[in-house]
C-alpha cells in the first residue's frame, strides 16, 4: 500500500479543525437541549397529576434527595464496596482473559478446539450462575467478584485472541529475520501490536463487570450500591431511588471515561 506522502496543507488543516470545533459546539447544544426537554417533560408529567405522584416525583425533590444521599456516610461505604467488587472482578477476569486469549491466539490447535466454547458462552447471561456463586462464595462481596470476573473474562479472552491473530504477519517475519528471541518477540512485537484490541477488551470488560456487580447486588447482598437501591426501593422512597440511579449513571460514565483516557481508546 503506497500512501502518497503529501505535506499537510496547513490552512486546510486549520479549516478542518475550525469546523470540528463548531461541530462540537452544536452537538453539545443539542445534547443539553435534549436533557432540558426530558427534564421539562418529566416535571410537567409530575405536576399534571396524570400519574401516581410517587412514581413520577418532581425533579426538584429528586435533586434534593440526590444531595442528601451524597451527604450520608452509608452511601460512601456502599460505593466503596461496589467499586472494590468491580475492580477485583476486572483484575481477576481480565488477567485470566488475557492469559487464556494469548494461549488461544498463539496456538492454532487449542484455538480451534476451545474458542467455540468461549465464543458461544460469551453472550450468555452470567447472572444465572449467581446462585452457584452464592453457594460457593457466600452472600458477601466474594460471590459478586467471582461472578463479575466470570463475566468479563470472556470479553477480554476473545478480544485478546483476536488481537493476537491479527498481528501483522510481516512484523513477525521481521522479528524472526533479526533473530529475536521468543521473549523479545513477545515483548517487542506481539504485546505492542496487540495493545489496542486488548485494552479495548478490558474497557468492554469493565462495562460487563459493572453491570454484573450491580445486578448481583440487587439480587442478593448485604452491601453495595445495588443493595442500597433495593433498600430504598423497599421504602418506596422514589425521589431517593431516582437520585441514586442518576448518581450511579454518572459514576459509571466517569469510570468509563477515565478508563478510556488511561487506555488511550476513545468512545
Amino acid at each position: 500500500m503506497a500512501a502518497t506522502g503529501q505535506v499537510k496543507n496547513p490552512t486546510a488543516t486549520m479549516g478542518f479543525a475550525g469546523r470540528r470545533v463548531s461541530d462540537t459546539r452544536s452537538t453539545n447544544l443539542i445534547r443539553i437541549m435534549l436533557l432540558l426537554v426530558i427534564a421539562g417533560g418529566w416535571e410537567a408529567l409530575s405536576r399534571s397529576g396524570l400519574l401516581f405522584r410517587d412514581v413520577v416525583p418532581s425533579i426538584f425533590s429528586i435533586w434534593a434527595s440526590m444531595w442528601k444521599l451524597l451527604g450520608t456516610p452509608a452511601f460512601y461505604v456502599n460505593l466503596q464496596v461496589t467499586a472494590w467488587e468491580i475492580f477485583a472482578s476486572l483484575a481477576i477476569g481480565a488477567g485470566l482473559g488475557v492469559a487464556v486469549g494469548i494461549v488461544l491466539g498463539a496456538n492454532r490447535f487449542l484455538g480451534a478446539a476451545f474458542e467455540p466454547y468461549v465464543y458461544y458462552l460469551a453472550p450468555t447471561p452470567r447472572i444465572i450462575f449467581f446462585p452457584v456463586m452464592i453457594m460457593w462464595f457466600g452472600v458477601g462481596v466474594a460471590s459478586k467478584i467471582a461472578l463479575g470476573a466470570l463475566s468479563c473474562f470472556f470479553t477480554v479472552a476473545l478480544s485478546t485472541a483476536g488481537g493476537m491473530r491479527e498481528v501483522d504477519k510481516v512484523l513477525i517475519r521481521v522479528g524472526r529475520s533479526f533473530r529475536a528471541t521468543p521473549w523479545q518477540m513477545a515483548t517487542k512485537i506481539y504485546l505492542p501490536a496487540m495493545r489496542a484490541p486488548v485494552l479495548n477488551g478490558i474497557r468492554l470488560g469493565f462495562g460487563t463487570a459493572t453491570v454484573t456487580a450491580l445486578l448481583a447486588e440487587t439480587k442478593l447482598s448485604n452491601q453495595g450500591l445495588g443493595f442500597m437501591i433495593m433498600q430504598i426501593y423497599s421504602r418506596f422512597d422514589m425521589p431517593s431511588l431516582y437520585g441514586l440511579l442518576i448518581i450511579v449513571f454518572i459514576l459509571a460514565g466517569i469510570g468509563n471515561l477515565i478508563l478510556g483516557k488511561v487506555t488511550g481508546t476513545s468512545a
Binding site: A2, V170, V174, S177, I189, A193
Partner: protein
C-alpha cells in the same frame, strides 16, 4: 564474521559469499503438488549486486524466504561462508515487500530495533541509527511515526533498519513494488549509492526489468512455474551508476535482450492464470 575471515573463506570458495545450490521446494503432495523452486543454483560474490527476476508465480518469494532462513523445509543447499544455513543467518539482512515498519515506533526507534535486540546501549544505538537514517535521506524525520510518512519513506526506514544491523548480505524482496515509477527510480539511485559506498553484497528479488538492469551486476532470469534458472546475464554497465543510465543505448539493449526471455515466461504465466480463472468461473 570479520573481514579477514570473509576474505579467507572467500579465497577458498572462489570469492563466493552466498551460494545457492540445487535448491528445490515443493508445496503440497501428490498430484496437486506445486513445484515453486526447481533446482535453482547461482552464487553472489562479495560486493556484488545480483537480481533475481521472473514473472509472478516463478517462486521468487519462496526463494527469498528460503535464503532468509524463514522457510526451513527445502532440499538443496543455501550456503553462507561454505556452511549450510539453519534458520535466519546473522550475515543476512532482509527487506520485505510488504509494509514492515513498526507502527508504534517512530523512525529512530524503528531503525534502532535490531540494535535493541542485540543489547547495544542506547547512545550507541541512536548514533548508529542516525547514521543510517542520514544515509537513506531521512534526516529530519527521526521523530515522526510511520503513519506520517509516505510509502517510499517507510520503505527507506525498513532499508535503514536492515542496514543498521550490518548485514554482509542484503536480501530484498521487491522492496519498491508498491511505489510509483518516479519514486522507484530515485530510490534505485539511493540503493546504488549505498551499495557502492558500503560495497554491500546485495541480492534483489524483483519482477521489474528496468529496476534489475539499473541496479545489478548480474541478473538471474527465472522461468514461470516451476521456477528454474533460465539464464544468467552479466550487466556490464559502468559504475558508479545513477538512474541516468536508463537512457543509455547499452541499457536499452540489455532490457530488450532480457525481455525476450522474460516475455515468453510471463505469457505462459498469464495463459495459466487465465485458464485457471476460466475453470473456476465454469465450476
Amino acid at each position: 564474521m570479520t573481514l579477514a575471515s570473509t576474505a579467507a573463506t572467500g579465497a577458498l570458495s572462489g570469492q563466493s559469499q552466498l551460494v545457492i545450490e540445487n535448491v528445490f521446494k515443493q508445496f503440497g503432495e501428490g498430484p496437486g503438488a506445486v513445484t515453486a523452486v526447481d533446482h535453482v543454483s547461482f552464487d553472489v560474490k562479495p560486493g556484488e549486486f545480483v537480481s533475481v527476476i521472473g514473472p509472478s508465480g516463478c517462486g521468487k518469494s519462496t526463494l527469498f524466504n528460503i535464503i532468509g532462513g524463514l522457510l526451513d523445509e527445502y532440499s538443496g543447499n543455501v550456503m553462507i561462508e561454505r556452511e549450510r544455513i539453519a534458520g535466519p543467518h546473522k550475515a543476512v539482512g532482509m527487506v520485505f515487500q510488504e509494509e514492515s515498519t513498526f507502527p508504534w515506533r517512530n523512525v529512530v526507534e524503528n531503525v534502532a530495533f535490531p540494535l535493541e535486540l542485540q543489547g547495544v546501549n542506547k547512545s550507541e544505538r541512536l548514533d548508529r541509527a542516525h547514521h543510517f537514517i542520514d544515509l537513506v535521506g531521512l534526516k529530519g524525520f527521526e521523530k515522526l511515526m510511520p503513519s506520517a510518512l509516505s510509502g517510499g519513506m517507510r520503505q527507506r526506514v525498513s532499508i535503514a533498519r536492515t542496514l543498521v544491523s550490518g548485514p554482509q548480505i542484503l536480501l530484498m524482496d521487491e522492496p519498491f513494488a508498491a511505489l510509483d515509477e518516479q519514486t522507484r527510480l530515485l530510490l534505485g539511485d539511493k540503493i546504488t549509492q549505498i551499495q557502492q559506498d558500503l560495497n554491500q553484497t546485495t541480492l534483489l528479488i524483483t519482477h521489474n526489468l528496468t529496476e534489475a538492469v539499473q541496479l545489478s551486476d548480474r541478473i538471474v532470469v527465472m522461468t514461470y512455474r516451476p521456477g528454474k534458472v533460465k539464464r544468467i546475464v552479466n550487466i556490464d554497465l559502468p559504475r558508479p551508476r545513477t538512474s541516468d543510465v536508463v537512457s543509455s543505448d547499452a541499457f536499452g539493449h540489455y532490457v530488450a535482450e532480457i525481455w525476450a526471455d522474460l516475455r515468453e515466461e510471463a505469457s505462459r504465466g498469464m495463459a495459466d492464470s487465465e485458464s485457471a480463472r476460466r475453470a473456476s468461473s465454469r465450476g
